[in-house]
Amino acid sequence: MTLRFDLPEDNFADILVRAFTNRSFLTGFVITALVAAVAIVSFFWTPFDVTRLIIADKTQAPSPAHWFGTDHFGRDIFSMIMVGARNSIAVALVAVGIGMGVGVPLGALAAARGGIVDEAVMRLNDLVFAFPALLSAIMITAIFGPGALNAIIAIGIFNIPVFARVARAGALAIWPREFILAARAAGKGKALITVEHVLPNIVTLLLVQGTIQFALGILAEAGLSYVGLGTQPPMPSWGRMLFDAQTRMGVAPWMAIFPGMAIVVTVLGLNLLGDGIADILDPKSRRQR
């Protein structure tokens, strides 16, 4: 068989065309942009003030005034979801940044050096992977105290081995290629080759993994806040709203339904975005979870 289906790899116009004809990407992009826009708008405007408690309005069902109803303190749930969005995004985004910032150099180093360095990085990865992520996040926040900052650190630490592994696997697939050999024959060292040739070729993988970890980060932040270890009241957060809703399921189910939907929609959007990016830039890329 000499069939070759070489796809153009880096033509910007082609990529744009493929992006706008890819259903996953478009849907994901629109949802993500919408959530981001809501988060930004919440800094300037929300339908109601989420810091003011109006007990008289407590647990009202959804109505034209309160689209998603009110909670047990009479706060507007729609407004709280808007403010909660910026917390979720901030925590997850910084955690992805920590994971990438530390994990990618580690993974690239392991692939470039091999031998004992590689072994050490991999064992370190095994070690972190041995701790169920959420359990350890709970431990860390419990030790250093609950709060958004510690939640970020906890989630970030567990992003490190994920990115290290993806970067290493991607880089290991690049290193034996002939163009790397050509660069070595041109006298370039491993660090320079990593920067010039290896990293640009694994950017797609990292981007896709980034959206996945972003989505997982939002889930993790919600989980931590739900058990009381993430974002602290009175700052509204999606996880905390669900905790408050739990004991009021019988009287005010909307308190649980809408924040949960916010999480689902955001995570769904990010995952679709990731799938879309993978399809567009690299149809054969493998995704890891």
Binding site: M1, E9, E178
Partner: protein
């Protein structure tokens, strides 16, 4: 009556036309060759006969096998035909077998499926079939897994699977392209014997005109999905009536015009190594008793297998401007040797001198001056460029070793000059490698190699991935640059035609050692060592094949 009859076969995949009005026939006991360059549609033709096409493919016309209308047959009918009456052999032996099943299971599977034989009977027949294809039980028991076999052995297993039920028709799609010439000759012999034994029809698909001429009585030449010419092999190729046939044949036998300025040792090739020293000219490259061991596989935590010796006490030298071929079978150590010459790998013992200076055991910084004068061209025109960079950056890569970093303007000028040298224009600088064809990419590869005006270029199978017509052009380019720039070549190849076309001297490598060295024509016409003899005997040669066919027919 024909066994396989293809009439007016047209095929599209999506909106792309792939085949147009293809006509082809194979008679029992006959070998029909299907020749074409890449993209000619020869593999798709084979898959059409097997009805193993991609989902989006739409075929029209008539394909009749043994009276059965293949295009109209039900999937059940096709399953009954495949593997029983029609067998198929594929190009890539390394990936054609399931890695998690034993070869015994894989050969017996088709037998059990079609004959409903018991497991023991099927295994018995599988055993006999493996014996027949040259894999005796002592060497290759049924319980072996594919990864425990070599490429040649795996291809024999694939042939055993295809021929296990003595099919009436065997389709072999580039069955030897991934193998070296000696293995190729063995596999072709095996196929020829199987055809004779069972009066099997063979449809042999290949890009290699010489291989097809040696094997096939009749030939069909395909280009862009259309039949250019078809008929008796000897007549078609000796008369060369169709212009495309003539073009293909000439490209296959192409020898670039070269002035033989570096044939210094004409009187006695054995003296050649010493001669430059007598003349006072320093050799460009001196390899002195170089050995390279690879550590053995770890058998347990403490035990390791004995190390494998890839290169074993090799010494040779190359003069300035000389073109030398390093020829050997796959796995003989030639690529390892090339990597050491390029200082990409260090020898276990021995020294390598370049322009008189030792380059072994040096740091990357110390190697910079040497790297300026030493460049490389790789085999794979697709894999040897970073897909994310533009041509300007890719071709300029070796400028990294220059002492003084060129300015952007200087750099663009140097790249433009290098592109001009290889027949490309300055506008190509701003393109990405995927915008070029295979042949153009190999030109880029050469441009990258000569941009620093090196004294030595190491080329690792630089034309073996190219179609014949492109190959001829690239060989011409190498010859031309040898003349104009005075650059010396170390050509690594398993293909003797390439060696003959472009080199003054040839070294034959076998099992890590250089077993023969001499003037190219001398060695190829009168090989002395066993290794050289088997390489020469196995190499397909179009001249010889046509002559033999004509002779047979009287």
């Amino acid at each position: 009556m024909s066994l396989l009859e293809i009439e007016k076969l047209s095929l599209t995949i999506g909106d792309t036309p792939i085949l147009r009005d293809v006509e082809l026939s194979v008679a029992p006991g006959e070998v029909t060759g299907l020749v074409g360059e890449s993209g000619s549609g020869k593999s798709i033709t084979a898959l059409t006969v097997m009805r193993l096409l991609p989902w989006a493919a739409r075929a029209s016309g008539r394909v009749a096998f043994d009276g059965i209308d293949i295009l109209a047959a039900s999937e059940d009918q096709m399953c009954a035909l495949r593997g029983d009456d029609i067998g198929m052999v594929f190009q890539e032996p390394m990936t054609a077998l399931n890695p998690v099943k034993t070869i015994g299971e894989q050969v017996a599977e088709g037998i059990r499926w079609h004959t409903r034989a018991s497991r023991a009977d099927a295994e018995d027949r599988a055993r006999k079939m493996l014996d027949r294809v040259g894999l005796p039980p002592a060497q290759v028991p049924l319980s072996r897994y594919p990864h425990e076999l070599s490429g040649g052995q795996r291809q024999r297993v694939v042939i055993a699977i295809a021929c296990a039920l003595k099919p009436k028709l065997l389709i072999a799609d580039e069955p030897t392209t991934a193998l070296d010439v000696v293995l190729q000759a063995q596999i072709l012999d095996l196929l020829r014997d199987l055809v004779a034994e069972n009066r099997m029809g063979l449809l042999l698909i290949s890009h290699d005109l010489a291989v097809v001429t040696e094997m096939a009585e009749r030939i069909t030449i395909l280009r862009h999905g259309e039949v250019m010419e078809a008929g008796d092999t000897a007549r078609t190729l000796s008369e060369q009536l169709h212009p495309y046939t003539r073009q293909l044949a000439q490209a296959s036998m192409h020898v670039p015009a070269r002035a033989t300025t570096h044939e210094v040792g004409q009187d006695n090739p054995q003296l050649q190594v010493a001669k430059p020293l007598l003349q006072g000219a320093r050799p460009l490259l001196q390899v002195e008793s170089v050995t390279r061991d690879y550590p053995g596989r770890r058998k347990s935590l403490l035990k390791r297998a004995a190390p494998t010796r890839a290169v074993d006490d090799v010494s040779f030298s190359i003069d300035p401007g000389q073109s030398v071929a390093l020829v050997g079978r796959s796995g003989c150590g030639k690529s390892t040797l090339a990597r050491m010459v390029l200082a990409l790998d260090g020898p276990t013992s021995g020294t390598i001198r370049f322009r008189g200076e030792v380059i072994t055991g040096k740091s990357e910084a110390e190697l910079k001056p040497a790297r300026r004068d030493m460049q490389v061209v790789f085999q794979d025109p697709y894999g040897s460029f970073d897909p994310r960079q533009k041509v300007e950056k890719l071709v300029a890569e070796p400028l990294h070793v220059l002492e003084k970093k060129p300015t952007d303007a200087e750099r663009r000028e140097m790249v433009a000059k290098a592109l001009h040298d290889v027949g490309l224009g300055p506008r190509d600088m701003d393109k990405y490698p995927h915008e070029f064809s295979g042949g153009q990419r190999q030109r880029l590869s050469i441009a990258r190699a000569i941009i620093t005006r090196p004294k030595l270029v190491v080329a690792d199978e630089p034309v073996s991935a190219l179609d014949v017509s492109i190959r001829a052009q690239i060989l011409d380019l190498f010859a031309e640059l040898n003349q104009t720039l005075g650059v010396a070549y170390l050509f690594i190849t398993h293909d003797l035609t390439v060696a003959r076309a472009i080199t003054d001297q040839v070294m034959i490598m076998h099992a890590g050692k250089i077993v023969e060295r001499g003037r190219t024509s001398e060695v190829l016409d009168h090989p002395q060592s066993e290794a050289a003899k088997s390489l020469v005997a196995a190499a397909p040669d179009l001249h010889r094949a046509i002559a033999r066919r004509l002779q047979e027919q009287g």
